[in-house]
Symmetry: C2
Subunit: 217 residues, 2 copies
């Protein structure tokens, strides 16, 4: 059975997965980029952006573990693009092909949950973005088929995480809590995680983030 | 100048300082007692309740530091009593003298912020509860006089913390984040801590809690 897993989802102390005002200049909203600084201190993160050596401690190991046995990814549409509304709302919106350049780091099928239908987008390196409009369960069904027995990773953003969580569809959740405040933005705890059936099973202190692992009770 | 300090304020991962339904049987609300288990593993906590030896590591040291140079305490009325409304709403409400028994652990003046006037309450060991109805600034003024040059500690609860924080009256805040979820209850991050002027200055991992220190930016 494929599991649906969340990994290395960065979070501020005050519970924000992104700052407010997400746009082209601020993929994670105002000050939201600070949520990811811990990643770019690691060998994992520095290799990803071609910057060479980095740390290889707990944070690095957590990032590696997040990729293990993953055969497909699900993300909310707001994680795929800074543009809102129909795909053809502007020339820039039409041309958008994701944040990850011509060869995205997924190398498998990525299911994008959206209200607006769109043909699949094939990019170099084996990544295909599929756009699913029938809701979380349909996205999970499509991802399960694509994963071919491997697990599925739910990437985010905050709205997708809340939706899948309250529907009880996520098997394990790993948050990376970063010691900073954002003050405002996208909250993940304004839905009741206990009512949804989750408990914290482990907490591990990394170099730049505290890694919190949640399972269904 | 006396500083207003918060120390060892226990918090769940999802941002709750207490569970819902605080009452006589549940001083910290449903499941809220779990927020304080880390305290009762330490020598500080076990001595307080007459249980003998405990740990003397980071958590213990943080608890000791919270008492250093404190000359007065401020708390919200909901932290003083499980009863709501006027002080004489019931026989039990009238007889209530705080959660801390005949000799409370404060040994100084405690300013209780309330909407309902009441004469001061003198208990053994040098603790006097004063009931102030003129708001946070008046409470701080009374506490400053009582502290006689020492600092003042803001004990809680969540509503008092939010009120003093948004008014910018708190100098330093130390939260003890406990690796558990409460799901619902009293939130402290539904006011904007960044807008109020605070930033996280340090994070230290203890045995049972992660200690987060905030200062005014």
């Amino acid at each position: 059975m494929s599991k649906l897993r969340v990994h290395n989802y960065s979070l501020s102390l005050d519970g924000f997965g992104a700052g407010r005002q997400q746009d082209l200049q601020h993929p994670l909203g105002l000050s939201g980029d600070r949520l990811h600084h811990w990643i770019f201190d690691t060998a994992y993160g520095r290799t990803m952006v071609g910057l060479g050596e980095g740390t290889t401690g707990i944070d690095h190991q957590m990032l590696l573990a997040g990729d293990e046995n993953i055969g497909a990814t699900i993300m909310g549409r707001n994680m795929f693009t800074p543009y809102r509304g129909p795909w053809d709302a502007s020339a820039a919106a039409i041309q958008w092909r994701g944040w990850w350049g011509p060869m995205p780091p997924y190398h498998h099928d990525v299911i994008v949950l959206t209200h607006f239908p769109r043909p699949a987008l094939h990019l170099a390196g084996g990544t295909t973005f599929h756009f699913i409009t029938d809701g979380p369960e349909a996205a999970l069904h499509a991802a399960t088929n694509a994963a071919a027995g491997k697990d599925i990773r739910l990437g985010g953003g905050a709205a997708a995480l809340r939706d899948f969580l309250t529907m009880g569809l996520i098997d394990t959740i790993h948050l990376a809590m970063v010691p900073l405040l954002l003050g405002s933005g996208e909250r993940i705890f304004d839905v009741d995680w206990v009512l949804a059936g989750y408990r914290c099973a482990a907490s591990t202190t990394g170099e730049g983030a505290t890694h919190l692992h949640f399972v269904r009770a």
